[in-house]
Symmetry: C2
Subunit: 204 residues, 2 copies
Amino acid sequence: MISAKTIERLFLYRRLMTDLIKRDTRFVFSHELANMSQSSPAQVRRDLMTAGITGSSSRGYDVVNLKSRFDEILHSSVQKAALVGIGNLGRAILSYFPHRSPAVEIVAAFDSDSSKTDRIIHGIRTYAVDNLDQVVHQTDVSLGIITTPKDAAQTTADSMIVAGIRGILNFAPVPVRVPAGIFIESLDLTTSLEKLAYFSRRPH
Amino acid sequence: MISAKTIERLFLYRRLMTDLIKRDTRFVFSHELANMSQSSPAQVRRDLMTAGITGSSSRGYDVVNLKSRFDEILHSSVQKAALVGIGNLGRAILSYFPHRSPAVEIVAAFDSDSSKTDRIIHGIRTYAVDNLDQVVHQTDVSLGIITTPKDAAQTTADSMIVAGIRGILNFAPVPVRVPAGIFIESLDLTTSLEKLAYFSRRPH
């Protein structure tokens, strides 16, 4: 079992490989990869070992080989995601995310406000939130993104889980309860900024 | 020195107190606070002890007293933030964030595209990025939010630090290097979703 932190870094390395391939760079050293990923060469070598990549030539690691190996580990099949809550943040994610990752595609967005549904927003079809269960099943969605106001976050998570969603990214500024076996990650902009404010005002 | 994780929870508790006060709730038990914050009663009591709050009556903790104590610890003075990168994500934050926190106020936004500057967007004044240093000094900004494309993230962070900003929230999907004494937090939507995709597809 590879740890969550390592998986995060492998996804980052894969993105860096994609960039290097675009720039026709063929080889990369662990210290260069460390520099690009804000890590240490020892950490990079450990991660590559975990990924089953050992040894590099005097020219460094072959970029295309690394990329293929990362694809293998991280799976190259796309997983589908549904977003609930088409406010400003939801719209921003719909506009920002497409084509950012080969691993995830947002295929549907939901809202309880009928003026926002049955439309195409940034290329993504929007539905009434009552149709969540049906659409998730029909389109084989496995990931959910919550961008609702905080009062709707828990019921949205509950509906997602009932519909069969197993991984949830929560942007609502409130903790959400999920049963065991469901993976949840919260990105709370407000708390992040507040923490930053607290720590950046004191001398280090 | 209170840990970053504890500070995060204290900010959350403070927000919960604000909600309770709005609903005219006068007392709260640690197990209720634990439930609202997705924590344990033991963790809540430990956090309150760290904050210098000991003992509760049979009715629980006094909500207004807790709130004042949190205000004291977390400082109630506002810190000013500047956002650089007025794309979709930047705009969403400008529209979403105001009035979310008593600790942070976004006072200026910057972009290199002159069609986006010298305007008011969601109540916030926008400037050419060349004016960053001047505006940060004049308005006493201490926090920076990076919502630029990834290629501009590092130079933006560098300019922020030169201008005197000491805490940075980075949304660009690329790691950013900062010197010691500067506090940085990265919220990378892409990596978060990819990690979620990876873990939610395997059986637990």
